[in-house]
């Protein structure tokens, strides 16, 4: 019995990974683009879930960190001719350092204060980016080089796919490691956790730092794919999308954000044909999910699965 479960746990993801190799062979440029964007959101939603779903800290600075990664990498490329490959690593590092700093500042604070601080940080960053337009070109947009000399959507797809898979593997490893267990202890009962000797502060800061680094890298990838970096990337609008994807997919579950990211991104392409209603619709769905089914789509499916007696 145990053997069956273990092999299933490895086979199913392996199957998905193998299937994921094929899209560039039959998808049009347009839909390949949608896949790439979905993978970006997978990276963002799962790394946000790491702190929100697993440690209960609702940070509104996630999109801001992706903006940090994008702008650092972009400006290095434009001003110093740095290769984007190196640029995104530097961007992710800067994001991690800022995440560490912000995490350090927020330690004493409760949920509301943390959310407001991250909100304030996010808006400060956006205003600075918008105003320092000699460096960032603000709302006019910063044009940056791509990763590949010859533009090829398929190449970008594989790049995003590989990084997304690495992120997911890393997140999975963290959740199931000792650190991860302490995350969940902190989430469930902070008082009990700290009295049993878990350094809740260190736990929170580490989670925050790792999550910010991921957001930074995702942002760098995104920026160099679009070849245009704008203050939209570190905006609250983007933050909302990431949050909605995690919530609707299922916060606190591993697969939830992945489902949410792909689901919402593909859905938004369909809805867009009818007009710009997709944000409103996602918002309403997110409200309904948060109110009635906080475990998200994944939670709902899991419940149905159990009811149907498949296990």
């Amino acid at each position: 019995m145990v053997d069956n479960m273990e092999t299933k746990k490895i086979l199913i993801p392996l199957l998905f990974i193998i299937l994921a190799i094929f899209p560039p062979f039959f998808l049009s440029q347009y839909w390949l683009h949608v896949m790439i964007i979905s993978l970006f959101y997978v990276m963002m939603a799962s790394s946000w879930n790491l702190i929100a779903g697993y440690t209960g800290q609702v940070s509104f600075a996630h999109a801001a960190f992706s903006g940090v990664g994008a702008y650092v990498s972009g400006m290095l490329a434009v001003n110093l001719g740095t290769s984007p490959w190196l640029g995104i690593l530097i961007g992710a590092t800067v994001a991690a350092l800022l995440g560490l700093g912000l995490g350090f500042l927020c330690i004493r604070m409760g949920g509301i204060y943390l959310s407001l601080t991250t909100l304030g940080f996010s808006e400060i960053l956006r205003i600075i980016i918008t105003n320092e337009d000699q460096w960032t070109r603000g709302t006019m947009g910063l044009q940056v080089p791509g990763f590949f000399v010859e533009y090829s959507k398929a190449s970008y797809y594989y790049l995003f796919l590989i990084v997304a898979i690495l992120f997911l593997i890393l997140i999975y490893w963290i959740i199931h490691s000792e650190m991860g267990l302490s995350f969940r202890a902190v989430l469930n009962d902070e008082l009990a956790a700290s009295s049993s000797g878990i350094d809740t502060i260190r736990v929170r800061i580490s989670a925050f730092t790792i999550s910010s680094a991921m957001a930074g890298m995702a942002g760098g990838l995104y920026g160099h794919y679009l070849m245009l970096i704008t203050p939209d990337i570190p905006s609250l609008g983007q933050m909302f999308l990431v949050l909605a994807m995690a919530v609707i997919g299922g916060m606190g579950s591993f697969i939830g954000p992945v489902v949410g990211a792909f689901g919402l991104e593909i859905l938004s392409e369909y809805i867009r044909i009818y007009g710009e209603y997709h944000v409103l619709i996602f918002g309403l769905v997110a409200l309904a999910v948060a109110r009635f089914a906080p475990e998200g789509m994944v939670g709902i499916i899991k419940r149905r699965w159990k009811k149907g007696g498949f296990s």
Binding site: A52, G56, V58, F60, L105, R108, M109, G110, G111, I112, Y113, S115, L116, T117, L119, G120, F121, E123, I124, I127, I128, N131, L236, G237, F240, L243, A244, V247, Y277, V279, L280, G283, L284, A286, L287, A290, R291, P294
Partner: protein, 286 residues
Amino acid sequence: MSEFLMYLTNGVVMGVINAISAIGVSLIVGIMKVVNFAHGELYIFAGYFSYHLSVSLGLSPLLAMPLSVFFIFLLGILMERTLIRPTYGDEMYSLIITFVLSIVLQNAALLIFGPYPNKPPNLLSGATNIFGLFHYGNQRLLSFGLSICILLSIFYLIKKTWFGKSVRAISQDRGMASLVGVNHLKINMVSFGLGAALAGTAGVLIAPIFPVTPTGSSAISLTAFVVVVLGGMGSLKGCVIGGLVLGILENMGAAYISTMYRHIFGFIILILVLVFRPWGLFGQKA
């Protein structure tokens, strides 16, 4: 010198209006420990209602303004009953819900009211010469006057009436308050409605000066949060002082340092306060 006075006056006027807006947030935070992210949207909805009641339906602004505030009060109560109450106690979910709600309302505003700024008619037009030193818009002066009246009414409400006393009791110790017979569920509901109504009041007071747009709501929410944090969560005095400080600082900063960064002063204050003195100027040390 007259420029300086103009900036100062602008700062004070905006400050008082900021204060009213912030009290709406502070009330809700103080009582329910919930941050109402949808604050800015309630504000603009009030502005839109005021506009449509006056312009599309032809009602006098004197009627349109209070009526709009009343609608927002009802909207607030509805929000509390359907969305906020069930998440009571779970901080994370109430944050998520009001944040998502704010985005939903923002987009709804875009859909229902359109993308163009709507400006309810001025009650007064033209400008007055202040002490012969500079000109200042009359509508702004009127809004200033009304704001002062409203602030005084709120102080009276909180300090002298039974409702106010219940509110203060609950924010200090909910358990004890319900023991002495305060119906905290009802108070929650009415307070949320009142908080919403205050957002709406600020909205109808400002909309004739700064037309409302669907995207303007975030800036309004954020300004209110800064004032509340600066003044101290749950402190009315703090909202007024905080509002004035922010208003004056933003205007002075924009005038003498950089017009482009006017909003950043607020955020820097927010972060500094949260880091060094999270309970604000007049708040209680939790």
